[in-house]
Symmetry: C2
Subunit: 237 residues, 2 copies
């Protein structure tokens, strides 16, 4: 059971060493950064070689789920309970300061550590595959053509208990040194947002099939992170 | 010397095993995906534990550069020439199909493999710190307050020759099975774009300091990936 007043334990693996004033370990901060994202970068090690695979993921309590093809290298390797690091990041602005050193970006990121496990229990896997769709598009699975046995078999679901996690947030924008602030050098912050375009309905849709109410979080021009967070909240309330 | 007709070598580490029709190994495809991004996810291994750190990076020929604090764990560890995987990804759309299995996203991603090295040569480091700004904002360094010796020392620059790389692109949007296409189920593609907001000039700027021409790639509403690609091209032509 996750309480949003809880905090992930801090130890040498997840302690943020540099700019630790930007660090957060509480569930509320870490989970908000995770739930605002669709893609995670999942890193794992095979024979000493690191791999980092971008993939869709989602959070349920203090567990993270992602999926892959049952035949993929990532899944075949991770099935054995290996250590992984799941990283999520949002780029929020470009910061152009008056010296090179103070150039920066605003961002939100999480590194979550744990051991990946293949979901083998049939019922748990069914529930996870439902949430893999419904976490993004609330209640959508019930409206879809059911998953075939072959599709079910071809999809692997991985799960990881978050053993350690750290969030890191920079949001202060321009931060020149006081003695630089009156130099006649152009400086600015450029906001960066990931947004949704105009939805493109399938051209083969018959006229009586309308866009479901449950896609309401996904409106053209809306920020993706806000839409994803809203959909997550709807699915897990 | 990199020729855009060249191709990265393919071996068991970088060969794309799943959905290999989406794979590309040629410099032109791989470099275009890299140059359209500001953030990379860099994974490395310490004592068997994978770490994945998001950080600013850029490409020069077939080398990748990134920086960090000289005191950071990432830099202290990577200085030893360890294997790393540098992953870059762009999310281009959400794909809502008529069954769960065909739900997907359009994306562009690169996994680049090599060994990280700390840049220790003073001149190479000076040039790299210049390009770390100028690659994003062409010719900007010449307009800035010069870097101090202390700032120079506090910043570490890492470099990696790309030994192997693979790109992966999905851009086909909705791709339902033929037998599903007439089911009365709502299906759509939602484009996703990372865009620039209205630049926010420093409120302390005096009136004679105007936005430089060289920031022309960065206009409000523009796609970040296109702005970054244009700036890279200007800086390295």
């Amino acid at each position: 059971m996750s309480h949003e007043t809880s905090t992930y334990p801090i130890d040498p693996i997840n302690r943020v060493k540099r700019l630790h004033e930007r660090a957060a370990y509480d569930h509320a901060t870490v989970h908000a950064i995770l739930d605002a994202a669709a893609l995670a970068h999942i890193s794992y090690v095979i024979d000493g070689q690191p791999y980092c695979t971008p993939t869709l993921f989602w959070r349920e309590g203090t567990r993270l789920y992602w999926h892959g093809s049952s035949a993929s290298r990532m899944v075949r390797h991770q099935a054995g309970g290996v250590p992984v690091c799941v990283t999520v990041s949002h780029l929020d602005s470009l910061v152009l300061a008056r010296c090179g050193f103070n150039h920066s970006v605003d961002y939100r990121s999480v590194m979550a550590f744990g051991h990946a496990e293949l979901v083998t229990d049939i019922e748990e896997k069914q529930r996870a595959l439902t949430m893999m769709v419904d976490r993004f598009y609330p209640q959508r699975t019930a409206t879809l053509r059911p998953t075939t046995a072959q599709e079910f078999k071809a999809t692997a679901v991985m799960v990881m208990d978050i053993e350690r996690a750290s969030g890191k947030v920079r949001s202060k924008g321009l931060a020149d040194d006081p003695e630089d602030q009156d130099l006649p050098i152009y400086a600015e912050r450029i906001p960066v947002m990931t947004v949704l375009g105009e939805p493109e309905p399938c051209p083969r849709l018959s006229s009586e099939v309308v866009r479901p109410e449950s896609l309401q979080p996904y409106q053209a021009g809306r920020r993706l992170d806000l839409a994803l967070a809203e959909a997550h909240q709807q699915s897990y309330r």
